[in-house]
Structures are given as structure tokens and as C-alpha cells.
């Protein structure tokens, strides 16, 4: 968990700093400065348009994190209430409708649909967010419903019903806080998948558009020079691997830390 948190924090810090300051403006092309080796002015060198690689990576982190974060946010905001609703009405037609709707979305290959959406509505970061976010909804709905179902049979939920509380209120007060740990862990996993999906869409030219920097497009731009200038592909590749690895390790660590059965000895 420690390594995961550190890796994630490094990329998050880079993304935040890029909001205020980057070493060089990445929208300014300067062909005279192209393909420079690392130096004091350009710690990671420059690309074939003379843009500073470090600045590109920092802005790319911002793009990736923003897209993945909003996509996870869509999944949580829509999927969790749907899952809680299905669990509260377990066995009824609402449950059936929600879960079969989930199956329907699951039945489509997500990346292909994402490509379809961007192909129809035009490539942009916003459409990438929507495409990734829609496929997060059934994941969170399932996790929320699965976590909520066993809780509905517990006596404290029965006590709340005896106290006259309705299903919605019980879901908010008793169920949601007690499945929060499941959701947090799932969110970190979906976050890392979102980073990968954004990189894939951008690589195909369907994500963030120039001049916005993006790790996926940096890879795409670098592939024609992969034999002569391999560092242009390796650096964004390493960034993607590092970010995804960090999030997965963080998710595993959170799962252990938030599991009361594993935590009890420490208390």
C-alpha cells in the first residue's frame, strides 16, 4: 500500500502542479529545439516538435487523471444509487430491471462502444469521459447491490424498519456507510482502468485533442520514431504503467486496511 500511495501521490502532485506551472509551454512548437537530450533546461529532453517532455508528461497526467476521475465519478454517482435501489427492492421488478439493464451494458465490448461514441459525436476529452463513465455504472451498481444484500438481513436493519424508517433512508444511513470500503476499493480499480482506457482512446486519436497533452497521444506520436528516438515512447509508457500500478497497489492496500476482520487485531 505504501508504494502504491507514493506512486499515486507523485502523479497526482504532477497533475496539480501543472495547473499552475509547467517548466515550458507545451503549446509552443520550436523545431530548433527538437529531439534534445536531457539537460538542465529540459530534464527529460524534448520531442520532435521541440516541446519539453517533462511538461508534456505533467499535463498528460492532468488529462488522464481528470478523465478517469470524472468517469469514476459518473459510475459512482449513477451506479451506487441504482445498486442500493435494486438491493432495497431485491426480488422485485425494479431489481430485475436494473440488473438486466446492467447485463445489457456489460454485454457490449466497452472500448468498441467508446470508439463508436467518439466516432459519432466527434473525438474530444468530454466524449471519452462519457464513454468510459457509462461502462463504470454497472460495475458500481453490482458492487453496491452485492454488498447491500447481506446487510438487509441483519437485525440492525430490521430495527431501523421497526423504527419506521423507509428503504431509502435505511440505504443512506445504514447500508451505504457499511459498504463504503467495498466502493472505495472498486473506485481505485476503476480509476486505473479509466487511465488505461483514456490512454487507449487518445492513442487512437479519439480522446483529448491537440494541443492538450495526453499520454496516449504522446505514444501515438512517438511510434513512427520508435527505432530512432525510443525515449519518446518509453517515457509516457512508463508514466501509464507507474500510475496504473500505483492505483492497483493502493486499491489492494485499502481493501486490507478497510476490512474490519483484518483490522481488528490492530485496534
Amino acid at each position: 500500500m505504501g508504494i502504491g500511495a507514493v506512486l499515486t501521490a507523485i502523479f497526482a502532485a504532477a497533475a496539480l502542479v501543472s495547473l499552475l506551472w509547467v517548466p515550458h509551454d507545451v503549446t509552443r512548437l520550436d523545431v530548433s529545439q527538437r529531439l534534445l537530450a536531457p539537460s538542465a533546461a529540459h530534464p527529460l529532453g524534448t520531442d520532435h516538435f521541440g516541446r519539453d517532455m517533462l511538461s508534456m508528461l505533467m499535463e498528460g497526467a492532468r488529462t488522464s487523471i481528470a478523465v478517469a476521475l470524472v468517469a469514476v465519478g459518473i459510475g459512482v454517482a449513477v451506479g451506487v444509487p441504482l445498486g442500493l435501489w435494486a438491493a432495497a427492492k431485491r426480488g422485485g421488478w425494479v431489481d430485475e430491471l436494473i440488473m438486466r439493464g446492467n447485463d445489457l451494458i456489460f454485454a457490449f465490448p466497452s472500448l468498441v462502444i467508446a470508439i463508436l461514441i467518439t466516432a459519432v459525436f466527434g473525438p474530444s476529452a468530454l466524449n471519452a469521459i462519457l464513454a468510459i463513465g457509462i461502462f463504470n455504472i454497472p460495475v458500481f451498481a453490482r458492487v453496491a447491490r452485492g454488498g447491500a444484500l447481506p446487510l438487509w438481513t441483519l437485525d440492525y436493519v430490521m430495527a431501523a424498519r421497526v423504527a419506521g424508517k423507509g428503504r431509502a433512508r435505511i440505504s443512506a444511513e445504514h447500508i451505504l456507510p457499511n459498504i463504503a470500503n467495498l466502493l472505495i476499493v472498486q473506485a481505485t480499480i476503476q480509476f486505473s482502468l479509466g487511465i488505461l482506457a483514456e490512454a487507449a482512446l487518445s492513442y487512437l486519436g479519439l480522446g483529448a485533442q491537440p494541443p492538450t497533452a495526453s499520454w496516449g497521444r504522446m505514444l501515438a506520436d512517438a511510434q513512427t520514431m520508435i527505432y530512432t528516438e525510443p525515449q519518446l515512447a518509453i517515457l509516457p509508457g512508463l508514466a501509464i504503467v507507474g500510475m496504473v500500478l500505483g492505483l492497483n497497489l493502493l486499491g489492494d492496500g485499502l481493501r486490507d486496511a478497510l476490512d474490519p476482520r483484518l483490522r481488528r487485531r490492530a485496534l
Binding site: 437485525d155 430490521m158 431501523a160 421497526v162 423504527a163 419506521g164 445504514h174 457499511n178
Partner: protein, 522 residues
């Protein structure tokens, strides 16, 4: 304490001396000494956390990680405590078998019972046909002669599953069988059959049985020798009848007293009807869970509702609390329509205490918030905090506990918190759904005394639901006996106890293991 030689003393099969156990440095057992003789039932009795199960696990080499033992447990000149795991593989299932409390989870749901009973034999190289023949023989022995080997566990009742577990444990004719609370999860009528089977196996096969239990009634019924455990020590041990008649240790005395709840004096009902059911029927599809049940609960009265699992008492409870609709009949509460039709103000006058002291509270809520939850029915009063503190004090806890979380309390304390939550809206009727069934006997006695005291002070009417007639007798004036969704007996508890009108009630009373009246210590 030393065990005096009994008249039928034989050389012990396993001799445990000075067994001490620590898990991760925390001392669990202290100097446990016990002789387990062949052909006899040795009982290890104690409350939860007394170390009785750990003693058993030490004898079958299944202690949890981080356990360190000292002392010895000798079997055939070998010390079991120092055996390497490889040698245990021969002993377990061979010389020593074990059965567990929960027959629902002790069997693999995707394997037939024939495969499971013959598994221990197949592991030792017995050919398949021979192993199945022995499995058939063992299943016949445990009274499942009618049951084909290709049945799956879900097709069996709880009692049948426990019999399959016993057949598995005795498949290779072990010399010692360890039974850890073998009947705790079973109904009383089923329990009686399992206890008789265990006793017969010991008598006929010369096996030694180490019986772990919290129930002194079970001990009195089948054990030859009893060791009483408290906080990791054996405080007293002796031949069963002698220990019951002439125990020396105060803890044994407390346990015995608490195991025999005294029937309470009959009280005249002080008021008119508060809760009435007339022909109440609840169906789930084609299944009728509650079938035309009628009864009346009077003000300040205790009415017992007794029945075995699946008899419909929980369904009836949910209907009374207005959580589920009924399909026929009527329900009246305080003179108005009850059940699902109750208004919030009416619901506040009827509250409930559940069985499980661990599942009754949201683990993330403080006691103050838990206690205030029923105020949802009445609107939160300005003095909510003071009333929560008052409710806690009424059940023997203190206002300083308001900021704590449920996990900081013991089982008995949690049940007191559950009662405090039920009292907070000043109800007329308290539904106690197996409210003392999960508690140790001494804690149970305290909670029963508290309930009795609260009833006298507050004039509450109780609907006391239980599977245990002896406990109902300690708190109730009248009792209903329920079977298959119907009320089969309704009358004053003293009359029902001494002269039950239905055969079913008679079988319930006879099957409940009780300490013989004559064994009461002078």
C-alpha cells in the same frame, strides 16, 4: 482440583497434564489437566471464552496460528502437543474424530453424503467400493438407514446433517470423538435424538467422547465425568452426578443456579387487552407460514411463544410489528387496527429486541445514535440525549457509555443496549424475539431479572418468543406453543408445564435436557 477415581475407572485414553496455551503471547489456557477414558463421556463445560474449544482443538492438532503450548497430552505414550503435522494426518480422522456445532456449514454442499463419509477412508487407500460399503454401514449406524448415499446436504434436515457429520467422524472407528457443541444449533426434539446416538456409540463401540458444551442440562443427560472451565482453567471436575450434588467451587454453583431458571410466581393481569390477533394468516405463495393464529396479550402481561425453527414464530413477529402484510384475519393494537396499518405513533408503542447481540447494531454508530433511532417515529424530542442516558441507566449501564461503539461491549451489555433502544419511545408492548437465547447462562439470568424488574416498574407487556420452555417459565404467565404455523397449545405456563394438553408440547418438555430435580445440591 484432582479427579477422584470413579468406580468404573479405566486407564485413560488421553491424559492431559498441565496444558497451557498462549496465542500471540496472550494466555488462553492455564494448567489444564484432564483424563479422557474410553467408553465414557467426558464433558468440558463453560461459558463462551472459557477455553473449552481451544482445549479440544489442542487435542486434535488444529490450534490457530501463533499458538504455543506447554504441558503434555499423552496418547499411547506419545505427546500429541509435540507431534509434527505429518503424523497428525494419520491421527486425525483415524484415532481422533471431531464433529462441529453447525451442521449447515460442516458439509460440502456440492458433494454427496456418500462421497463425504467415504472420503476419510479413501484417503487411507481403501478401495472405492469398500469405502462406500463402510459409508453405508456407518450411515445405518447413525440412524440414516433409509437415506441413499447419493443425497446432497441441502436435501437433508439439520438433524440428519449432524448425523452425517457423526458418520464421517466415526468412519474409521476413532478411539476418541470430540464433539464441540454438537446440538446447540438444533431444535430440542432433534437434540435429544443426537445425544442418545452419541451415548449409544460410546456404550457400544467403547469410544471415548469429549463433549464440549455450555449446557449443563446436556451434561446431566449424557456425561459420565464433567470438568468445569472458567477463564482458561478447570476449576472443578468430578463424576457427573457427584459434581451436581456436591460441587465445591462458587463458579460451579453460579452456573448451576443460572441453568435452572426458577419459574416465576403467577401474576394477575393488570389490565385489558393491548394486542389481539384473530385468525391471523400469512402466506408466501402456496406456503402458509402462519395459519389462523389467534391470541390476546394483556397490559403488563408476559405471554410466551414457544416453537422450533420453521414453526412460523419469526413470520408472526414481523406481521405483528407491521413489517409484512397479512392475508387473512385481523390484528388489533391498543383498540385500533394493528400490523401494517399502524400509524407512526402506534408503532412507537410497540418495540422489539432481537436475538443476536452482535448483529443488532450498526457497527459504525455510537450508542447515543443507536438509542435515538426509534425517535424517528415520534419526532426527535429536545431532551433526546437525556432520555437516551436515562434508558441506559434503566438497563444498568451508565450515561458515559453513550459515546461508545457497539464493539466495545460484551454480549450481555449489548443485549441491555438493545433493551434500552426498545424502551426509548416508552412502549406498551415489547416483543422479545429469542432475546436471551444467544447469551451465556449467567448473563441470561441477569437479563431475565432485568426484564422482570422493568416489567414491574414500567408495566410493560411482553411477547417472549423462545425455543426454550424452561426459560419461558421463568418470565411468562401464559404460553402459546406453535407448530407448523398453528397454535397447538394456549394456557397458563404452570398448567402447560405440568399437564400439557397436546402431545407436541409434552415431547418438547420431555426432550429438553434438564438437570434432574433430585440432583439439586443441598
Amino acid at each position: 482440583m484432582t479427579a477422584e477415581p470413579s468406580p468404573t475407572e479405566t486407564a485413560p485414553l488421553i491424559a492431559v497434564h498441565d496444558l497451557s496455551l498462549a496465542i500471540h503471547g496472550e494466555a488462553i489456557l492455564h494448567d489444564v489437566g484432564l483424563d479422557i477414558a474410553p467408553g465414557r463421556v467426558t464433558a468440558l463445560v463453560g461459558e463462551s471464552g472459557s477455553g473449552k474449544s481451544m482445549t479440544a482443538l489442542a487435542l486434535i492438532g488444529l490450534l490457530p496460528e501463533g499458538a504455543a503450548t506447554t504441558g503434555a497430552a499423552m496418547l499411547d505414550g506419545r505427546d500429541l502437543l509435540s507431534l509434527p503435522e505429518r503424523e497428525w494426518l494419520n491421527l486425525r480422522g483415524g484415532d481422533i474424530g471431531m464433529i462441529f456445532q453447525e451442521p449447515m456449514t460442516a458439509l460440502n454442499p456440492v458433494q454427496t453424503i456418500g462421497a463425504q463419509v467415504s472420503e476419510t477412508l479413501r484417503l487411507r487407500g481403501t478401495p472405492r467400493a469398500e469405502a462406500l460399503r463402510i459409508a453405508r454401514d456407518r450411515l445405518d449406524r447413525v440412524g440414516l438407514g433409509q437415506l441413499p448415499l447419493d443425497r446432497y446436504p441441502h436435501q437433508l434436515s439439520g438433524g440428519q446433517r449432524q448425523r452425517v457429520c457423526i458418520a464421517m467422524a466415526i468412519a474409521r472407528r476413532p478411539r476418541l470423538l470430540i464433539a464441540d457443541e454438537p446440538t446447540t444449533a438444533l431444535d430440542v426434539t432433534t437434540q435429544a435424538g443426537i445425544l442418545q446416538l452419541l451415548r449409544d456409540l460410546v456404550d457400544e463401540e467403547g469410544m471415548a467422547l469429549l463433549l464440549i458444551t455450555h449446557d449443563l442440562g446436556v451434561v446431566a443427560r449424557i456425561a459420565d465425568h464433567v470438568a468445569v472451565m472458567q477463564a482458561g482453567r478447570i476449576v472443578e471436575q468430578d463424576a457427573t452426578e457427584r459434581l451436581f450434588r456436591a460441587h465445591a467451587h462458587p463458579y460451579t454453583r453460579d452456573l448451576l443456579a443460572a441453568s435452572r431458571p426458577a419459574p416465576r410466581e403467577r401474576r394477575a393481569s393488570r389490565g385489558g387487552p393491548v394486542l389481539q390477533a384473530d385468525g391471523l394468516t400469512r402466506r408466501y405463495g402456496a406456503v402458509t407460514a402462519v395459519d389462523a393464529v389467534s391470541f390476546t396479550l394483556h397490559r403488563a402481561e408476559s405471554l410466551g411463544l414457544v416453537g422450533e425453527s420453521g414453526c412460523g414464530k419469526s413470520t408472526l413477529t414481523r406481521a405483528l410489528l407491521g413489517l409484512e402484510p397479512i392475508q387473512a384475519g385481523s390484528l388489533w393494537f391498543q383498540g385500533e387496527a394493528g400490523g401494517i396499518a399502524m400509524t407512526k405513533a402506534q408503532r412507537a408503542k410497540m418495540s422489539v429486541v432481537f436475538q443476536d447481540p452482535y448483529g443488532s447494531f450498526d457497527p459504525r454508530w455510537t450508542v447515543a445514535r443507536i438509542l435515538a433511532e426509534p425517535f424517528h417515529l415520534t419526532g426527535r424530542p429536545p431532551d433526546a440525549w437525556a432520555r437516551a442516558a436515562e434508558a441506559l441507566e434503566q438497563v444498568g449501564l451508565s450515561a458515559s457509555d453513550l459515546g461508545k461503539y457497539p464493539h466495545e461491549f460484551s454480549g450481555g451489555q449489548r443485549q441491555r443496549i438493545a433493551i434500552a433502544r426498545a424502551l426509548i419511545t416508552e412502549p406498551e408492548v415489547l416483543v422479545l424475539d429469542e432475546a436471551v437465547s444467544a447469551l451465556d447462562v449467567r448473563v441470561r439470568a441477569q437479563v431475565l431479572a432485568l426484564l422482570d424488574d422493568l416489567q414491574q416498574r414500567l408495566g410493560l407487556a411482553y411477547l417472549f418468543i423462545s425455543h426454550d420452555l424452561a426459560v419461558v417459565r421463568a418470565i411468562c404467565d401464559r404460553v402459546l406453543v406453535m407448530r407448523g404455523g398453528k397454535i397447538v397449545e394456549d394456557g397458563p405456563i404452570a398448567r402447560v408445564w405440568s399437564a400439557p394438553a397436546s402431545d407436541y408440547t409434552r415431547s418438547l418438555i420431555d426432550a429438553a435436557p434438564a438437570i434432574p430435580e433430585g440432583w439439586a445440591a443441598s
